[in-house]
Every structure is written in C-alpha cells, then in structure tokens.
C-alpha cells in the first residue's frame, strides 16, 4: 500500500514524520530556495515559480519519487485545497501593476497553477482539482480521493492542503493508492504544528 505524507510549515520539511530540512528564522522564499538546493533537486524552472508552486513542487518531488515508474500518465490524480487561493501572488502582482505589470507574476494568479507545475514536471495527465475552503477539510478530501480511487479514475492520488500568505506557509500533502480514514488524515495534518 502506498501511504506517504509531507508537511511544510514553521520552516520545516517533514516526510513521514522525519524532518528532512529545517531552517530557523528565514523568510519563506529563502527557505524554499535553500530547501531546493539541500534536497538536491535539479529543475531550473523552480526559480521562476511563485511561492505556492514552489511549496507544491517540493512536496510533490518528495512524495512522487516513491512511486517513480509505477503509474501511467493518466493514472495519477491531484486534489489540492487551500484557504488563500493565489492571494499571496495576487498581491505581489497588484504591487507590480503600480510600476509595470509583470507577465511572469500574472501567470501564477490562479491557485491551480501549482497543479500544472507538478503535472509538467512529472508528466501527469490524470484528474486534477483545486478546492478553496476556509480550512482543511479532511472529510471532504478523503471522500473525494476515495471516489477517484474506488471509481478507478486514478491508481494513485496526491492530495491535501497547500496554503501560503505573507510569512505563513502551511502544506500537508499525502500520496495514496488506498482509502485512508478521515481521522488519520486529520491527525497527520495537525502534527508538526510547533
């Protein structure tokens, strides 16, 4: 059974309960770039991404490496959610408009672009959705993932919560090929809060 998860918050990157990277007192963007270097990832487009995409990219990189070669392009679904949509980048774009609107910021002013970046990187063509909700809803996500897996719409599902605004990043992604109870997902989401 495939059951992996990744948490990025409080300047820590945790995979399956193990801290892989930690950086004290750094703004998020430096944190993400340093994490990219330290984790030995090589994908120059990473530098061009907005912070939401960088977060999703790193978490997906860590999780999808566990099932490399085990799925066809259309067999992996991605179901993500957050509360701030793309507001972190929307505000930066709005700021750029005061002088010269930035095309490279504009293309990230939708929350589901992070899914696109993950799909491009890993050649994924499966079902994908991005929900915006006030808080992480483990019941909703787990039921949606179950529906995709049980209905044979996907062999694996990358799902969870990916949110960022100002200095607060909150990422919980999990990768599964079987039903995981809502309570277990919720318990994992609430771990590593300090």
């Amino acid at each position: 059974m495939t059951d992996f998860y990744c948490i990025i918050r409080n300047n820590k990157i945790v995979k399956d309960g193990v801290v892989l990277f930690e950086q004290e007192n750094k703004p998020d963007n430096d944190f993400l770039t340093e994490a990219y270097d330290k984790l030995g990832i090589s994908y120059p487009k990473f530098y061009k991404m907005d912070r939401l995409s960088k977060l999703g990219f790193i978490a997906a990189e860590l999780l999808l490496s566990t099932i490399q070669g085990k799925y066809q392009a259309d067999e992996l679904a991605i179901v993500l959610s957050n509360s701030n949509s793309s507001l972190d980048t929307d505000l930066r774009f709005w700021d750029s408009v005061k002088t010269q609107a930035s095309p490279s910021l504009f293309v990230y002013t939708l929350p589901n672009i992070v899914i696109g970046e993950i799909c491009i990187r890993h050649g994924i063509k499966g079902e994908n959705l991005f929900f915006v909700s006030p808080q992480f809803d483990s019941d909703w996500i787990s039921s949606y993932v179950d529906m995709l897996l049980v209905g044979k719409k996907a062999k694996f599902c990358l799902a969870g919560w990916i949110d960022i605004l100002a200095d607060r990043a909150d990422v919980f992604l999990y990768l599964t090929d079987k039903s995981i109870s809502s309570s277990k997902i919720s318990e994992r989401y609430h771990s590593w809060n300090n």
């Binding site: 770039t33 120059p44 530098y47 061009k48 010269q100 930035s102 095309p103 490279s104 293309v107």
Partner: protein
C-alpha cells in the same frame, strides 16, 4: 557593445529568475529560445517589458520579436539602433 551585452545578460538573469546561471554562462550568439537558453512565451513578454523599463524602447511591431530576441547580440544591436540619446 561589450558592456551592453554584459548588462543585458545580468538583466535577463534578474528579470527572468535564471538564478542557476551566471552572465558568463550565456554566449552572446546563443539562441535565447528553443534549444538555447530554453526561454518560453512568458519570458518573451518579460523581455519586452525589460526593453521598455531599462532602455525606454517600446516594441512597435510585435512580429519583430523573434528577430530581436534571437540572442543577446541581436537584442544589443536592436537597443543600439533604437535607443534615444
């Protein structure tokens, strides 16, 4: 011209977030798009903005883009020919 091409390389790296590159990694006549530096259509828009902001040059005919943005050399030549004193 040498100073202009060096400045252009620094500006391209900065505005396009090519943080894995140094100016000396970009060859003057290396293609910027496709198999060269691998830039995409959004990068092309950023290069148009760069010309406007840094050199006060507004691209009159967008069809000219592929010719102007072929390489650092072609960009420098276009700037030299079109920048007002």
């Amino acid at each position: 011209m040498e100073q202009l091409t060096l400045n252009l390389k620094k500006q391209i790296i900065e505005v396009l977030n090519l943080k894995h590159l140094r100016p000396e990694d970009i060859v003057n006549d290396q293609p910027l798009f496709g198999d060269g530096l691998g830039l995409d259509s959004i990068d092309a828009l950023e290069l148009i903005v760069l010309l406007q902001q840094q050199y006060s040059i507004r691209l009159a005919d967008p069809q000219e883009g592929p010719k102007i943005f072929k390489s650092v050399n072609t960009m420098a030549e276009y700037i030299k020919a079109n920048q007002k004193p």
